[in-house]
C-alpha cells in the first residue's frame, strides 16, 4: 500500500482549472520528483495533498485512509505530514529552537525538555546547533530552509512534501539544502518534491512526474523521463530547462 496516493485530483481557482485529474502513488521510502513549468500547478498539488487546499474532486489517501473525506479531522491528518515551503515560512517571532519544538509540544503533547533535546540533536546534525537561540532573520536563506526542513521532520511525518525548497535561495546556498534533502531521503523518508533542480531529481528521485496542463503527462524512472522523454511537451519543457543551464 502506498503511503500517499492521489486519485483524480481536481482543483480550480474560480474559472482557472489548475488540476484536471491527477493520479500519483508514492510508496514508502520512495522519492517522487514533481517537475513542470512555472504555474503548472505543482504547488497547488502539494497543497491539496497536505490539505491546505480543499480539492474540488478526487481523493487523497494517506496510508490508505481517505483524508479528503469531510468527516476526517484535517488537523489530525496534517500532523502526519511535513511540508516545507519555497519561502521557508519560519515563524519570525520564535527562536530557531522554538520553531522546531512548537509542533512536537503543542500538537503532539511531548514534554518541552524532551522536544528540545530532540530538536537540538537535529540542529546539531545539520550544523546549526549554535543557532538554536537565534531568531530566523539572523540566519542565511540556506540556514533558514534547513531549519524549516528540520521543523517538518520534528513531527516524525509519514511523508515529507517539499515545494521548490531551493528556488528562493542564492545559488551558492542551494547545495547545503539539497545535501540535507539527500540525507533525509537516504534515511528512508518518503518524499514528494516539486523541483526545478533536474540534476538533483535524476540522482535522488525514484520517480519523476511531469505536470503539464493540469495532468501528469508522463512519469517514470528519472533516466526514462529525463533521458528519453516520450511526450513532445516533456521534451519541450526539458529543452527549455537545459537552455537555462539547469540540467
Amino acid at each position: 500500500m502506498s503511503v500517499l496516493e492521489l486519485r483524480g485530483i481536481v482543483k480550480a481557482f474560480g474559472a482557472n482549472v489548475v488540476l484536471r485529474g491527477v493520479d500519483l502513488a508514492v510508496d514508502e521510502h520512495r522519492v517522487v520528483a514533481l517537475i513542470g513549468g512555472s504555474g503548472s500547478g505543482k504547488s497547488t498539488l502539494l497543497r491539496c495533498a497536505s490539505l491546505l487546499e480543499t480539492v474540488d474532486d478526487g481523493q487523497v489517501l494517506l496510508d490508505g485512509e481517505d483524508v479528503t473525506d469531510p468527516r476526517a479531522d484535517a488537523d489530525r491528518v496534517r500532523r502526519r505530514m511535513g511540508v516545507v515551503f519555497q519561502a521557508y515560512n519560519l515563524f519570525p517571532h520564535l527562536s530557531v529552537l522554538d520553531n522546531v519544538t512548537l509542533a512536537p509540544t503543542v500538537v503532539h503533547g511531548r514534554s518541552r525538555s524532551e522536544a528540545a533535546e530532540e530538536a537540538r540533536a537535529l540542529l546539531d546534525r545539520i550544523g546549526l546547533g549554535d543557532k538554536a537561540a537565534e531568531y530566523p532573520d539572523r540566519l542565511s536563506g540556506g540556514q533558514q530552509q534547513r531549519v524549516a526542513i528540520v521543523r517538518a521532520l520534528a513531527v516524525r511525518p509519514r511523508v515529507l512534501l517539499l515545494d521548490e525548497v531551493t528556488s528562493a535561495l542564492d545559488p551558492e546556498l542551494v547545495g547545503e539544502v539539497l545535501a540535507l534533502v539527500r540525507e533525509v531521503a537516504a534515511q528512508g523518508m518518503t518524499i514528494v518534491m516539486a523541483t526545478h533542480e533536474m540534476g538533483f531529481a535524476r540522482q535522488v528521485a525514484d520517480t519523476v512526474a511531469f505536470l503539464d496542463g493540469g495532468v501528469l503527462l508522463e512519469s517514470g524512472p528519472p533516466a526514462q523521463v529525463l533521458g528519453e522523454p516520450q511526450h513532445p511537451r516533456t521534451r519541450q519543457f526539458l529543452r527549455r530547462v537545459i537552455d537555462a543551464g539547469r540540467l
Binding site: S43, R78, R79, F85, A87, H93, L102, R138, S140, L169
Partner: protein, 302 residues
C-alpha cells in the same frame, strides 16, 4: 497559491572584516564630515532664531491686545489655579481609574471582537455578523451620544441590578466605543500577517485556534502596537467626558470651581494636567512607531 519569496535572505553579519577595524578616513571623507558639521550647526542656529522671533511676536501680539488684562485675570489667574489644583488632582485620579480599567477592558473586548470577525464557516456566521454590526455601529456614533444613552438610558430602565454609578456607566460607554476602534486595529494587524505563516502553522497540524494564539496574534500585536498606543493617547483625554454623567472627575471638579468663582482658570489647569498625562504616551507611541519602521526598512533593504 503561489508562494512568493517575501524578502531576500539577510547576510549573516557576524563575520568580522578581514584585517580588523575600519581603515582611517580619507581627506575627502574628512572634508565631507566637516561640511556636514558646519551645515548642522547653521541649521540649529536658524531654527533657534526663528523660534525666538516667532515667540516674541506672538507674545507681544497677545499681551498688547485690548482684552488681554481681562483674559489673563479670568483664564490665567495664579491664585485661582493654586486654589483649584487639589480638587482637580483628586478628580484626575478618577479619570486615571477609568483609564486603567477601561483600557484593559478595551484590549480584551477589542481582541475578542477582532477574533470573532476572522472566524470562517457558516456555523460562526451569527457571531461574525454580530461583531461586524457592533463595530460599524460604535465606530459611527459620537462618544458623547453613547455616554448619554448608556449613562442616562440604563438607569432610567429602573432594572434591578443595573449599576447607576456614573463611574461604571461612563467606563462602560467608553469601552463600548473604543473596543470597536481597537477591534479594527487588531483585525488589520491579523490580516497583515502573511497567509504563508498560517499555512506553515496549519501544515504542522496546529488547529485554527492554536495558529491564531501562537503564530498570528503575536506577530499581529507587534505591527499594531504603534496604532494601539495612539488610541491610548486619545483615550486618555476622552476619559474626561465621563464628567457629563456627573462623575466628579478632573473636568467636573474644574466645572464646579468655575461655577463658584466665575473664573475659568480651573479649566486651563485641568487641560494642562491632561496634556501632562498625554505627553509621555505620545512620545512612547512615536518611539515605538519609529522603531517599527526601522525594523521594517532594514528587513526590506537587505
Amino acid at each position: 497559491m503561489a508562494l512568493r519569496r517575501r524578502r531576500r535572505p539577510r547576510p549573516v553579519l557576524s563575520a568580522p572584516v578581514p584585517g580588523g577595524g575600519l581603515p582611517p578616513p580619507s581627506e575627502l571623507e574628512l572634508g565631507r564630515r566637516a561640511w556636514r558639521r558646519r551645515r548642522a550647526r547653521r541649521s540649529t542656529l536658524v531654527a533657534l532664531a526663528s523660534t525666538l522671533v516667532f515667540a516674541v511676536v506672538a507674545y507681544v501680539a497677545v499681551t498688547s491686545s485690548p482684552g488681554w488684562p481681562r483674559v489673563q485675570a479670568t483664564f490665567f489667574s495664579p491664585s485661582a489655579a493654586l486654589e483649584s489644583l487639589p480638587d482637580i488632582a483628586r478628580g484626575l485620579v478618577v479619570n486615571l481609574q477609568v483609564l486603567v480599567v477601561g483600557g484593559l477592558l478595551v484590549l480584551v473586548a477589542g481582541l475578542g471582537t477582532a477574533a470573532l470577525r476572522t472566524l470562517r464557516g457558516p456555523a460562526w456566521a451569527p457571531l461574525r455578523i454580530l461583531a461586524t454590526v457592533y463595530v460599524d455601529l460604535f465606530r459611527g456614533v459620537p462618544l458623547i451620544i453613547v455616554l448619554y444613552l448608556v449613562g442616562f438610558g440604563f438607569p432610567a430602565l429602573g432594572l434591578q441590578g443595573v449599576p447607576t454609578s456614573p463611574f461604571v456607566l461612563g467606563t462602560a460607554a467608553i469601552v463600548l466605543v473604543y473596543s470597536a476602534y481597537v477591534a479594527e486595529v487588531f483585525r488589520a494587524g491579523i490580516e497583515s500577517v502573511h497567509p504563508s505563516q498560517r499555512a506553515a502553522a496549519r501544515s504542522l497540524g496546529l488547529t485554527h485556534r492554536q495558529t491564531m494564539r501562537i503564530v498570528v496574534l503575536p506577530q499581529a500585536l507587534r505591527t499594531v502596537t504603534p496604532a494601539l498606543l495612539n488610541d491610548f493617547v486619545a483615550l486618555q483625554k476622552d476619559v474626561g467626558l465621563i464628567s457629563v454623567l456627573g462623575a466628579i472627575d478632573a473636568v467636573r471638579s474644574a466645572q464646579i470651581q468655575v461655577g463658584q468663582t466665575f473664573n475659568f482658570t480651573p479649566y486651563v489647569v485641568a487641560g494642562l494636567l491632561f496634556v501632562l498625562l498625554a505627553v509621555p504616551s505620545a512620545r512612547l507611541a512615536d518611539a515605538v512607531t519609529a522603531r517599527a519602521r526601522r525594523r521594517q526598512q532594514s528587513g526590506s533593504l537587505l
